[in-house]
Symmetry: C2
Subunit: 206 residues, 2 copies
Amino acid sequence: MARSEKKTAVRKAAAADEGNRRAELIRAAGRLFVDKGFDATTIRDIADAVGMRSGSPFYHFKSKQDMLKAVMIEGLTAALEAQQAAVAGLKDPEEKFRALVRSHLRIILEDHTEFPVLLYEWRALSDESRAEVIAVKDRYEAVWQPVLRELKKAGRIADDGKVARLLLFGALNWVVQWYRPGGGSSIEQIAERAIELFLCGKTDKR
Amino acid sequence: MARSEKKTAVRKAAAADEGNRRAELIRAAGRLFVDKGFDATTIRDIADAVGMRSGSPFYHFKSKQDMLKAVMIEGLTAALEAQQAAVAGLKDPEEKFRALVRSHLRIILEDHTEFPVLLYEWRALSDESRAEVIAVKDRYEAVWQPVLRELKKAGRIADDGKVARLLLFGALNWVVQWYRPGGGSSIEQIAERAIELFLCGKTDKR
DNA sequence: CCTACCGATCGGTAGG
DNA sequence: CCTACCGATCGGTAGG
């Protein structure tokens, strides 16, 4: 009994360790993919970043493609959680909307997230991986839908259709292209401008 | 005289031919860069597309980087011309704005343009090339500035600052990511939605 | 997880 | 513009 307990403990510790190394790889790969792009990042770059030899990442992932998928799903999952926390307890649709915009910008711009990889390496994903990632992405976007519908009902946005939603995401996602931390505008300021742009019928309802 | 005339003619024809081949390479490279990305496109792909051998593109361009720069400047120049033609003769700021939005979407979405390369391969550009491309890009964006200022004065948009302008470009540029020809929405329909989104104070000024 | 390695590919060049 | 080629690098694997 004592022996099997010990064995289980060892196995658990080993499993935790493996999970940690895997998570480290995902984080390092994410950062590199964001900075240099998927194609321009080599397995050797990633291995270096976590202090491994070039062959070792393949102990944790069966291919570079597989790492990309893992990075994206990790980023999406973190985003999904942040988003749910942001709107939790809010009732007013405009407040919810403001919270979603702010949360989305933070996820995209704060540099400890792997999320932006999703935005720019979509093309590098294999067809099979893409299907898996889309499933999580749909869950993320689904949170916006009812909020937009309520805003439409309240007359605060002109349209809540698919095109309008994609234009909105575009304006927000594009920010990764030009935002520089410590630059002209803070994340909060950009969020304010964006909200103002989308809810523009706002102040002049007499 | 006859001989030197002939020589000149031959030289001119040769120069034109070289220019044609160069232009063909730019077009083929542009299409491949849009479809597969800069890194994933090989010189051999490009050479194949125009019926050359793998070493020959280097007769026209000194490096792959150089081709990328040429593709971007070509795309920007075409866009600049299309844009100027679109607003020529228009007086009303709202009309000008509508024309600019439509022109921009056409340039981005109609598949004979190299413009989208600019949007997604910015990172692949070397620092030196980037400076050259930025100069042309600034001229393109400069056309929007006075139009937005007039719209602001007329109370049709909330803000004409840098952030607002970038959010606007973001919404439009992002369309490349999801637009599919023959899909749910036409370019004109998307343009309408975008204009409606940006000029949202419009219809309800009593 | 490391060592040692392989096959393939890629950007680029010399010489004509 | 082609032929023939090179050096470098890269994703991935076998065997421990």
